[in-house]
């Protein structure tokens, strides 16, 4: 129980969603108008309605937020810890970021333009923006930051081979040129790593990132103090120059009502619950197990986040595993009762079927039904025959591994183990801490068959997902996949892109690098004194403390 959750690091709770790019110039104001229209059309507008329900915003006070571990640094490129993305979004800004509907919106860019051939993006920087130490933002800072991101960030891994260059046209213009079309804006908006630092700070970065005495950004808050292992306190950045448009997601003008935001580092999940109940902190993301309890507590409010994680089991395609054979993979898919695994979680409000897709049902651009029919197959008897046909020996054991950072992985494997047992197949489950799991997967690629993990349910682009890419070193054939991904990158209209996504989903459904099980949503619990909070992740630059 004292385990902190390093997996948070690997599976960022950053929300991102890919969106089809307009091919013409996109003025910031126009974009915001569109977004606002969208928002009011679909659901309640973040700040608007809450202002009413929670009374008028009040300036001042401190908000205490619980995070699971000390992030170590605020370098979102070299450090994939979830806490880094939470905090760095208050301190830094990106050229473009995602709004509450996961649509890219300009922040530090006044506007951006995509060339007709899709190979060049030109960003015009907003005038008069300064860093919190007073130095004005220059194109050189942006160039250095973007290069650093592409070079070092695992998130930008799919962009790296595509990128040609990042250059400053003048002090206020940056051009990104590509070797072939790529959905740059979606990736950039979704990745906290594309945040803009000062060029000098980038130059000072060491092996594990930008040093902590060089945390200088353009965002609404700046670091006031950082007590190692205990807390990080942010204070209002008086040099902040907000973009236009209302606050939405990470985008829009933040009003920075709070004097300070205190991030308390609390690893122990039960201490988190007790602290919420007794007011030691105002906001936290508690565990699924605690959902019912928090719901029944009149003192606490719950906001279910739009973001979701895909829970999946990866099948090992390497020759040392039975799942190198397609029949065995199909047999496994036939055997696993995905809905039973989902139901075993006991939190119906936080789970929904995945339908075999790598993106959530609500993610219109990336969700595809192409794998649904196969995903819904469930016939243990037939699975038994298929396993036999695949050459599974009666004495053979299916080796399943996972990490115990999150209990649901093992829960899922236990259900699968039970289902395997019913058709007379032996299996073993071993779970380790995250680092060991990764070490085992990468260094002993033939020592496992099934791996349970989760992935982001709102990926920026298909190639980002484990379901499409398989996991590294899992022997997944990428040569046939490459043209499909390229078709997606080349798509000019939303329809073309959708078709490409269907093709990709069809391909993964056929090859099964992973079998998706269900979607699990995060939720945030907060005390009633928190005003203006719409439950969009851990973003607090626009909330206030009620008096």
């Amino acid at each position: 129980m004292i385990r902190d959750t390093p997996l948070n690091q690997q599976l960022p709770s950053r929300r991102h969603r890919k969106r089809q790019l307009p091919r013409r110039i996109l003025a910031a104001t126009a974009a915001v108008l569109v977004a606002a229209g969208l928002a009011s059309a679909c659901n309640s507008q973040a700040t608007g309605t809450n202002d009413g329900a929670d009374g008028p915003p009040v300036k001042g006070g401190n908000l205490t937020v619980r995070i699971a571990q000390d992030p170590g640094s605020l370098d979102a490129v070299k450090n994939t810890n979830a806490g880094v993305s939470y905090i760095s979004h208050e301190v830094f800004e990106q050229l473009v970021t995602i709004d509450k509907n996961y649509q890219p919106q300009p922040v530090l860019a006044e506007s951006y333009q995509k060339s007709d051939d899709g190979l060049a993006f030109t960003f015009t920087l907003r005038q008069g923006v300064t860093f919190s130490d007073g130095t004005p933002l220059k194109a050189a800072d942006v160039v250095a930051s973007l290069k650093y991101w592409v070079e070092n960030g695992s998130y930008a891994g799919s962009l790296k081979p595509v990128l040609k260059d990042v250059t400053a046209k003048d002090d206020a213009t940056v051009e990104v040129s590509l070797k072939r079309p790529f959905n740059l804006i979606a990736l950039m908006a979704a990745s906290a790593g594309s945040e803009i630092h000062k060029a000098a700070d980038i130059a000072a970065s060491g092996p594990t990132g930008i040093p902590n005495d060089r945390i200088v950004g353009t965002g609404p808050y700046k670091v006031k103090s950082w007590t190692r292992g205990q807390q990080i306190v942010l204070e209002r950045n008086t040099n902040y120059k907000p973009p236009k448009g209302p606050s939405s997601g990470y985008a829009g003008a933040k009003r920075a009502f709070l004097d300070t935001i205190t991030y308390k580092i609390v690893a122990d999940e039960d201490a988190v619950l007790n602290g919420l109940k007794t007011g030691l902190w105002d906001v936290a993301e508690p565990s699924h197990d605690q959902y019912d309890q928090i719901k029944s507590d009149a003192q606490l409010k719950i906001k279910v986040e739009a973001a979701a994680n895909v829970q999946y089991v990866a099948l090992n395609h390497n020759s040392g595993s039975i799942f190198s054979k397609p029949q065995a993979r199909d047999a496994m898919n036939m055997l696993i009762d995905k809905k039973a695994i989902m139901a075993a979680q006991g939190v119906p409000e936080l789970t929904q079927p995945s339908n075999g897709a790598f993106a959530t049902l609500t993610n219109k651009n990336l969700y595809s039904d192409a794998g649904k029919a196969k995903w819904e197959q469930n016939d243990p008897e037939q699975a038994k025959q298929m396993f036999a046909a695949a050459g599974l020996r009666p004495d053979q054991t299916i080796r399943m591994i996972t990490t115990d950072e999150f209990p649901q992985f093992k829960d899922a494997l236990l259900v699968i183990q039970n289902q395997l047992k019913k058709i007379g197949i032996k299996s073993s489950i071993e779970s380790y801490d995250f680092a060991t799991l990764m070490g085992r997967k990468n260094n002993k690629p033939n020592s496992w068959d099934v791996l349970a993990l989760m992935d982001d349910g709102n990926p920026p682009v298909p190639s980002y997902t484990d379901n499409v890419n398989g996991l590294d070193n899992s022997g997944y054939p990428r040569d046939k996949l490459a043209p499909l991904l390229e078709a997606y990158d080349r798509a000019k209209t939303p329809e073309e892109a959708k078709k490409a996504v269907d093709a990709i989903q069809g391909f993964t459904s056929q090859n099964l690098p992973t079998i998706t099980l269900y979607m699990a949503k995060n939720y945030v619990a907060h005390r009633p004194n928190v005003g203006g909070y719409d439950g969009w992740g851990m973003e607090f630059a626009d909330v206030w403390i009620k008096k």
Binding site: G346, D404, A435
Partner: protein
């Protein structure tokens, strides 16, 4: 198991046949009571699971019930009967305790014998043992849990390694004094090999001490076993142990404190009984401790 331990301890080699055991038991009610209770609890957790429902049978309709006649300890978040789980958890916890104790005591005895008998090698060994004791135990446990994956094997290794040096030290000092005895020297002079001397003359005389050490050790083992399970580094769910039952119940501390209370209390009571039994046994084997006990009794009698 505990019963046999008690019996063995009551029968030190040679000098005394069984008769003093009875007299000892008469004089030592603590040992008898503690021993009986330990045996009863052990038998209880061995027999109960045969009569109760499957400890892993889930029943979503009966989630998180408070203790009642149907479910004496209530149910957990999966609707599993906590009393059935408590019983099987007892099997695992007590079993693990015995297993680890046995390993640590045998290894410790062996190292202690060698270190005490072969003086030159011994001083080197004791240096290592000292360094070993300076190693934070919980770290060892974590490292093993990480390398092997949390479970029986890693826990067995880690806790054995933690406790071995303590036994080794005690047995060594006993061996040192035994090695100077005339009969041991005589054996050597008469041409008996060192290993055989150790096995024939020294080992039997350290055994009573080793047995007492076992009982005292098992108390510590049970606590560490509980802590490791609680931390998720020991035997992991769905196999229940008293330690991981406490961990499972934590989430519901405010609404269902009994989920934490019962398994933890079981550990406390069992460890307490082991300490009592170990203390009394020690008085039987260790002359100094016996002296202390008589002193205590005498004093109480005189003053009362």
């Amino acid at each position: 198991m505990t019963a046999t331990l008690v019996k063995k301890a009551g029968a030190p080699p040679r000098r005394r046949p069984l008769a003093p055991v009875a007299s000892f038991a008469r004089h030592n009610k603590t040992l008898v009571v503690a021993g009986t209770l330990l045996v009863s609890i052990t038998v209880l957790v061995l027999v109960l699971p045969l009569l109760l429902t499957d400890p892993n049978a889930t029943d979503p309709a009966r989630r998180l019930l408070s203790p009642s006649l149907d479910h004496p300890m209530g149910t957990d978040k999966f609707g599993r009967d906590l009393f059935a789980r408590w019983a099987t958890a007892g099997r695992v916890s007590i079993g693990m305790t015995l297993l680890i104790t046995l390993c640590a005591a045998s290894l410790g005895t062996f190292i202690g014998l060698v270190a005490g008998y072969f003086v030159r090698v011994g001083s080197v060994i004791m240096r290592i043992v000292d360094a070993w004791m300076a190693f934070p135990s919980i770290i060892l446990a974590i490292v093993f849990a990480v390398v092997i994956g949390p479970g029986m094997l890693s826990e067995l290794l880690a806790v054995t390694i933690i406790f071995t040096p303590y036994t080794a030290r005690i047995i060594r000092s006993r061996t040192l004094s035994l090695a100077t005895r005339t009969y041991v020297k005589a054996a050597r002079v008469s041409g008996m090999g060192p290993w055989k001397t150790l096995a024939v003359h020294v080992l039997p005389n350290t055994l009573p001490l080793a047995v007492v050490q076992c009982v005292l050790l098992s108390a510590g083992t049970m606590l560490i076993d509980g802590t490791l399970s609680f931390l998720g580094l020991g035997i992991s769910p769905p196999t229940a142990t008293w330690g991981n039952m406490v961990a499972d119940g934590r989430t519901y501390l405010q609404e269902h404190p009994t989920m934490v209370l019962f398994p933890g209390l079981s550990i406390a009571v069992f460890v307490f009984l082991l300490n009592l039994a170990g203390g009394s046994l020690r008085a039987f084997v260790d002359p100094r401790a016996r002296l202390l006990l008589t002193q205590q009794r005498r004093r109480r009698k005189v003053r009362a």
